[in-house]
């Protein structure tokens, strides 16, 4: 029974990769290579890499503790099998993070991550249903309402990282925390919404996109501006660098919003993902990719907005 469950998960994973436009084997190989490259790079450039590593793995493990998913699993499987599945899932997910931690002799982090993986296999994220986290976005509720609540821990981590950067006068970490906050804002536009949530707007495609970009920029500034002010005040000699990254974050956001609707109602396909990822790595490309995404998104939205 458990084996069949994991075989089904593997089949679903392969379908997901195929939907992305890749052969499953190529997709898995690419994912392994990317994960390894990012991990090696992280440990090479950042002294705090092991903490980020544990944090990232924990965030992923939390996503498996989602209540509805666990309710479903516990209904269809016997209690013992359910816990076995949850434990195995967490081990499989945390597993890839362990070799590099061991390689760098981060034994405490290995112990902490293993403990978290085991403990979270008994955990269900059910508290969110009973109370709502207040946000400053209630007047225009959409992407940022959802992502603020979903990624709250991430935003808190950004502010914590910036505090560490201030205490240690670590300029690189300060820039990283600001950029990370912007990337979390960009992640707000990761999931395409169902057709109804576009159809319902009394706007043409141009007005719709303009409104989405305007709201996105205002809301992202609300989340990142305190960080910018704090860091610019502390590292006042480097204020232009922080302003530059703030502008870059805004450009990433505009590009992501337009890319999202260029792919809508589906997710970003491989060429679109590569274009966006290329623009993130090489920002001057944004001057080409963003107008391209705008044209594509207007074409897509034309089918439902008039």
């Amino acid at each position: 029974m458990i084996k069949k469950y994991f075989l089904l998960q593997y089949k679903l994973l392969k379908r997901g990769i195929a939907d992305f436009g890749l052969h499953p084997l190529a997709g898995i190989t690419l994912a392994v290579l990317l994960f390894t490259a990012i991990s090696v790079y992280l440990f090479r450039v950042a002294s705090y890499a092991s903490y980020l590593y544990v944090l990232s793995a924990t965030a992923l493990l939390f996503s498996l503790s989602e209540k509805e998913r666990n309710d479903f699993l516990s209904i269809i499987f016997r209690t013992r099998d359910y816990y076995k599945i949850r434990l195995l899932e967490n081990i499989i997910l945390a597993g890839p993070f362990l070799p590099l931690l061991l390689w760098h002799h981060c034994f405490i982090e290995v112990f902490v991550l293993a403990t978290i993986a085991v403990l979270l296999s008994f955990h269900r994220n059910n508290s969110s249903v009973f109370y709502s986290i207040p946000t400053p976005f209630y007047k225009e509720p959409f992407e940022f309402i959802v992502s603020f609540r979903k990624l709250l821990a991430g935003f808190i981590a950004c502010y914590a990282l910036s505090a560490i950067a201030l205490l240690n006068a670590n300029m690189n970490l300060a820039v990283f925390s600001l950029l990370l906050a912007h990337l979390l804002c960009v992640a707000s536009y990761n999931e395409p919404e169902p057709e109804f949530y576009v159809w319902v707007f009394k706007k043409n495609p141009k007005q719709f996109l303009t409104e989405k970009i305007r709201t996105g920029l205002i809301h992202s500034q609300l989340l990142t501006a305190p960080l910018l002010i704090l860091l610019s005040g502390w590292f006042s000699d480097h204020i232009l660098i922080f302003l530059g990254f703030q502008l870059l974050g805004a450009c990433y956001l505009v590009s992501m919003i337009t890319a999202k609707y260029a792919a809508w109602p589906g997710k970003l396909n491989l060429p679109q993902s590569l274009l966006f990822a290329g623009s993130v790595a090489l920002p001057p490309l944004l001057l080409v990719t963003t107008p391209y995404f705008i044209i594509q998104s207007q074409k897509k939205l034309n089918s439902i907005l008039v």
Binding site: S132, V146, F196, W199, F201, V306
Partner: protein
Amino acid sequence: MIRIEHLSKSYGKLQVLNDINLVFEQGKTYGIVGENGAGKTTLFKCIAGIEKYEGTITADIMPVKDHTGFLQTEPYFLPRITGREYIQLLCNARNTKPGDVDAKNIFNLPLDKYAMGYSTGMKKKLAFFAIMLQENRYFILDEPFNGVDIEGNIIIMEILRELKRLEKTVIIASHIFSTLSDSCDQIHLLSESSISRSVSKDSFSMLETEMKEKTIRQHIGRLGLR
């Protein structure tokens, strides 16, 4: 008024709607009945402008989509959005103001809790409540009574009467015949991709009897219950 002329819709080789011709007049309520998979939801999506189609759909106020409140069979709610925020979102989308939502909350919904934590009936009530606050001219209600408790059903029926008084055009799909016979001026039977019958109020009971007999004859007998 909404006028549908020669509406057809196919998914690949599968013809879902074939040459539909209907007129939905102002101030009247219409029922659409048909078996599961008959094409009711597709028809609604075509009217709303969510699906592309062949034929024409015109209305006295165009575009239809900007003046239509669409209640879907299974309303989807964004994760971690409260009832109040959902209402605000839908009103923002139509440039309307929801006003004092607490005072208008006749379904007694827990508006500050996440909608994903609502029961099936509460989700339906929330989606229904939100489109009522959008100041729409047309309403498409796909199974508005499904999962809703008795008190909620009574309230929805009263709202339908009020919409009629306000000269709104309402189109409803429901598998509960009594809800349609109580609220509709005309019922259209959608069968095998086409409108096979249109029945006025005085013939509703006859239609219900025919549908019951057909169902019992064609389906229940096959079950071979012992």
